[in-house]
């Protein structure tokens, strides 16, 4: 780890100014410090935003939605009564993320900005990886890519975005509110993470220099929602595949469906065509539900070792609908 200086901005304005000048925001530090130890990032300056007043507030919005302050701790978000009642998919996604200890420290804003878990990228030294060392190639493309992307990859990078809460927030149509040197702006969650392009794995997110996430805004509640995380061990492990679903029901009939898959692409992967096809179907007609989902997976492009992820993701999407139908937590 390289020496760095630590600044403690007193206000959001000061924080964005520092960030614009190259300082990296430090929230819970559970990701950032790992990058620094591994040599993935070597910032000369950190701006500790963790004590900025008010940024950890969780408050109702006038339109019936909910605002999550970027600095709210994951466990505090999950425990909040409004989240518990209105957004089970988010609560479950958080409870399946990391460990209880980490969730006490990790912030919801920082969580969205975590980097891929690609093992080549996370190695203790630099391996051929365009995302870590631009132009060095992608060792995973023809290497050990069991856990890598089936959607939206390029030959430059086949990694996935590992955040669980991001998948739930994508299904909830959340909006990320940022403050920056050029003022505030709102980024739909689906536009926050960037897929790699043909030339390389440029930036992870759409955040511009100096921009700081202030809050994440949720539209009105989605009480019929659930999160499914698939992994070889029961806890404290990233997903092989995850699925977030939110339904609006009329008896046993789906009025509106929102579905997002996790760990299949470099961003939470919404399934718009399948969502449209699900509308009007009965929860009890499994064959029809399956048929509605199927076309979305015909577009999948598995790699040399991750073909199993395609049926797994399809089954996960179907199962998460079943979980909501049965009204139980996983």
């Amino acid at each position: 780890m390289q020496p760095f200086t630590l600044a403690r901005p007193a206000s959001l304005e000061e924080a964005t100014r520092l960030a614009a000048a190259g300082a990296m925001p430090l929230a819970g530090g559970t990701e950032l410090l790992n990058w620094m130890r591994l040599g993935i990032a070597a910032p000369a300056r950190l701006a500790d935003i963790s004590r900025l007043p008010g940024l950890d507030a969780i408050a109702p919005l006038p339109d019936g939605g909910l605002s999550l302050g970027a600095l709210a701790r994951l466990n505090d978000v999950a425990a909040h009564p409004a989240v518990r009642a209105g957004y089970p998919v988010l609560r479950q996604a958080i409870h399946k993320a990391a460990s209880a200890q980490l969730r006490n420290l990790a912030t919801i804003g920082g969580n969205l900005l975590q980097k891929t878990r690609c093992a080549y990228f996370r190695a203790e030294e630099s391996l051929p990886c365009n995302r870590r060392a631009p132009g060095s190639g992608c060792a995973a493309l023809h290497g050990l890519n069991e856990r890598h992307a089936i959607f939206g990859w390029t030959e430059a990078c086949v990694a996935t975005q590992p955040s669980d809460p991001a998948v739930a927030l994508a299904a909830l149509d959340a909006v990320v509110v940022v403050a920056g040197p050029a003022g505030a702006r709102r980024i739909p969650l689906g536009d926050l993470h960037l897929l790699p392009d043909a030339a390389g794995a440029a930036a992870d997110t759409a955040l511009r220099a100096g921009e700081i996430i202030v809050a994440i805004e949720l539209p009105g509640p989605a009480p019929r929602s659930a999160y499914l995380k698939i992994r070889e061990r029961e806890s404290y492990e990233y997903a092989l595949v995850s699925a977030a679903g939110a339904l609006v029901l009329d008896g046993r009939t789906i009025r509106r469906a929102r579905l997002a898959l996790g760990s299949v692409a470099m961003k939470p992967w919404r399934l718009p065509a399948a969502e449209a096809a699900l509308a009007g179907l009965s929860l009890d007609d499994t064959a029809a539900l399956r048929a509605a989902l199927e076309p979305a997976f015909a577009e999948a492009r598995p790699l040399s070792h991750n073909g199993y992820k395609v049926p797994l993701a399809r089954n996960a999407a179907l199962r998460v609908i079943g979980m909501i139908a049965e009204g139980h937590a996983p």
Partner: protein
């Protein structure tokens, strides 16, 4: 008579371990300490062409950079006690990724690490050598890792197979798996007046002394090795590794104390791992299920320079009665670092294959898997016909089956929502390893007892059971016994490995206590108390005799420095058991979870049922990791372990361990294994579990999985047809 032996004494080190008060090697501080960081090769094979320490020396705090040129030439030492035959930093050849090429010494660990990152090294890389069963070699018997003959044949296997009514032949495979102890290995080395003292993470302090004495050309007595507590070993700290040797040399060259602590990544390349093992088992059985032949061949990977071998057939050598047995173990070189014995070596990998094949045979015969085992129970050691030192495996099967409800289990897999429930079982077996041991007990006139033995604390409970044995023998409360351990200034014992400590060191402790009692009796005879006086406490007797203290030394010996499976004597020594599991499989999501397990063991006398139960639960959990997730995958292009960290390598967590794991020990005393009647238990719990799980998956889904670990990819869609 013996209230200590057999009582469920709680762990005496529990409090210091959970509060963090226990001090491990990397916690030791000395004035003037230099911190070492290793520069390691990023290529699997090739040469170090150039190395420029200047950028590292420019880092504030960096004192020195040592390269091969600064090293003394080490003498050749046998393996073990040295872990590898080729010592680091003696030439420019790169033999595995992660091999140390330079040591950066600095005033702080941060400066050393920053310096190590700046050392500019250039390499000429050759293509890595990957594992291939086709390149199998017979190991050389010069290495002590090859402690058995690689081939064993009894009877006529082709004839037995030809005569069989049913035959099963299948291949099984498992990837490399690392030990992953919680504590990264570390050593603090300091020289004073030509004497070397090491504080180190070790399972065998005396081994480190012998290894370093050989390599450095020093008399063993000039080396003192201390290991107050070792934070888990599982075999990763059994022998002498580069951190010990390089810390000693760095301290010698600089004249200052040096601490060398591995990073987690360095644990993956400088302490070993259970090798990749490819196996083929062929069984023949008659119509009643009696085995007519057993063939078991294995190939495990080793390094370019050392002959480490996994005797995967060790379990097959001792498990079932059969007229014909043909066993072979081979190794295949890879450009990886040397593998190493890991909790349940040999039988651990091997019984996955044998016990899966037995399940396949039971299925072919339409026979209950337990009945097939009972039908082939070996009444004498199948490898050489010797009688058993003790064996109550029939009882272990029966009592375990009753606890599990094996006979009442649903024949068709049951359903629980999306989960399919399968049951499976496997036999367990482990070679008994023995090492001589010595111990000393001193009774002081104030009534306190000091027990001394060089043995180690690696978290298994030794700090409790040795005082417990002493207290029981002396008839005093355990609170009065203090144990001094983990120090080559204390009476010599073997390593804390091979499931050997309790039985061997415990026997020496018992011997010392009995000798002390005899001496007390002698004193009492010379100084008779007045007639009718109440029974006198031993310390009162000492005081009356005018003695400040009284000591006795005890030993456990059998005429050899090492014994496996009782070859030193007339009886074959193995431990036995059976493990039964219920596994839930969700084939749509590829998920598999352990619902419950019963482990039932015939392992001699249980010295402490509480610590013993913990060992077995740990063993079953260890086996679950092997079955369900553990793999240290090697990138074929880079020739390195892809993930050298606990984020990229899954091992079980608490949530994977069901509350319903029941451990049962058959009431048994082994009259031949040692005076305690005990044998080892530390490893057998891990044996058989992966097979029982795979067998349960077969029961649940009809899918036979012969490649470990059993991952979602392999389970997806199982049982659909």
């Amino acid at each position: 008579m013996n209230e200590g032996l057999g009582s469920p004494m709680p762990r005496r080190d529990g409090r210091i371990k959970v509060t963090g008060a226990a001090r491990f090697a990397a916690d030791v501080k000395l004035p003037g300490l230099l911190h070492a960081a290793l520069v390691t090769a990023p290529i699997a094979r090739g040469r170090l062409v150039a190395l420029d320490p200047a950028p590292a020396l420019a880092v504030p705090g960096v004192a020195r950079v040592l390269t091969a040129a600064d090293m003394p030439r080490f003498a050749a030492v046998t393996t073990p006690p040295m872990a590898t035959a080729v010592q680091p930093m003696q030439d420019d050849v790169i033999r595995f990724e992660g091999q140390p090429v330079a040591i950066v010494l600095a005033a702080t660990p941060e400066a050393a690490e920053a310096g190590a990152a700046r050392v500019a090294a250039r390499y000429a890389a050759d293509a890595p050598l990957l594992f291939s069963g086709e390149r199998a070699e017979v190991p050389s018997r010069e290495s002590f890792y090859v402690f058995e003959e690689p081939d064993l044949a009894r009877g006529d296997v082709p004839a037995g197979l030809a005569a069989a009514a049913h035959r099963v032949a299948a291949r099984y495979h498992q990837p490399p798996r690392h030990h992953n102890p919680m504590e990264n290995s570390a050593t603090l080395a300091v020289w004073e007046d030509g004497r070397l003292t090491l504080h180190t993470a070790a399972q065998w302090t005396y081994g480190v002394r012998y290894g370093l004495a050989g390599a450095l050309g020093l008399a063993p007595e000039r080396i003192r090795v201390l290991a107050a507590h070792t934070g888990g070993g599982f075999g990763a700290k059994g022998y002498t590794w580069p951190h010990q040797l390089l810390a000693a040399v760095a301290a010698q060259v600089t004249g200052r104390p040096v601490r060398l602590a591995y990073t987690r990544a360095q644990m993956y390349t400088m302490t070993g791992y259970q090798p990749e093992v490819a196996q083929e088992v062929t069984l023949g059985a008659d119509a009643a299920g009696r085995l007519t032949a057993v063939r078991h061949a294995s190939v495990s990977n080793t390094s370019l320079t050392d002959d480490y071998i996994e005797f995967a057939h060790a379990g097959s050598a001792g498990m079932y009665a059969t007229p014909a047995l043909q066993l072979s173990a081979r190794m295949a070189r890879t450009s990886l670092n040397i593998p190493m014995a890991m909790r349940a070596p040999h039988e651990g990998p091997g019984m996955f294959a044998l016990e899966s094949a037995m399940d396949e045979m039971a299925h072919a015969l339409g026979m209950d898997p337990l009945d097939l085992r009972l039908a082939n129970h070996a009444d004498a050691d199948p490898s050489d016909g010797r009688p058993w030192s003790s064996k109550k495996l029939r009882e272990a099967y029966g009592e375990g089956a009753a606890l599990f409800g094996w006979r009442e289990r649903p024949r068709q897999a049951a359903r629980d929502g999306h989960w399919i429930l399968g049951t499976g079982m496997a036999s367990c077996i482990m070679t008994v390893f023995r090492f001589p041991a010595s111990a000393r007990i001193t009774l002081r006139a104030d009534g306190q007892v000091v027990l001394e033995a060089g043995t180690q604390d690696i978290g298994t409970g030794t700090l409790t059971i040795f005082p417990q044995i002493a207290a029981g023998e002396l008839g005093i409360p355990i609170e009065r016994v203090t144990l001094r351990h983990g120090d080559t200034d204390l009476p010599e014992t073997g390593g804390t490995f091979g499931s050997s400590s309790t039985a061997c060191v415990g026997a020496a402790v018992q011997d010392a206590a009995r000798k002390l009692r005899a001496r007390l009796d002698g004193i009492a005879a010379l100084q008779p108390a007045s007639l009718g006086a109440p029974a006198e406490a031993p310390e009162a007797l000492l005081r009356r005799a005018g003695l400040a203290d009284l000591s006795a030394e005890g030993r456990y010996e059998f005429g050899r420095p090492f014994d496996a499976a009782g070859h030193a004597g007339s009886h074959a020594m193995r431990t036995f058991g059976a493990v039964f599991v219920e596994v839930a499989v969700d084939p749509e999501l590829g998920l598999m979870r352990l619902r419950r397990a019963v482990g039932s063991y015939s392992v001699g006398r249980i010295v402490n049922p509480r610590t013993a139960r913990s060992q077995m639960i740990g063993g079953i959990t260890w086996g679950w990791g092997m079955a369900a997730m553990e793999a240290s995958v090697v990138d074929p292009a880079l020739g390195r372990f892809l993930s050298k960290n606990l984020s990229g390598v899954a091992i079980p967590v608490n949530a994977d361990i069901p509350a319903d794991i029941r451990i049962h020990f058959v009431d048994e005393v082994d009259p031949h294994a040692g005076p305690l009647g005990a044998k080892g238990i530390g490893e057998i719990g891990a044996v058989g579990v992966a097979a029982a799980v795979a067998n349960a998956v077969f029961h649940a889904t009809g899918r036979r999985i012969r490649d470990l670990p059993i991952l979602p990819e392999g389970l997806l869609g199982a049982g659909a047809g």
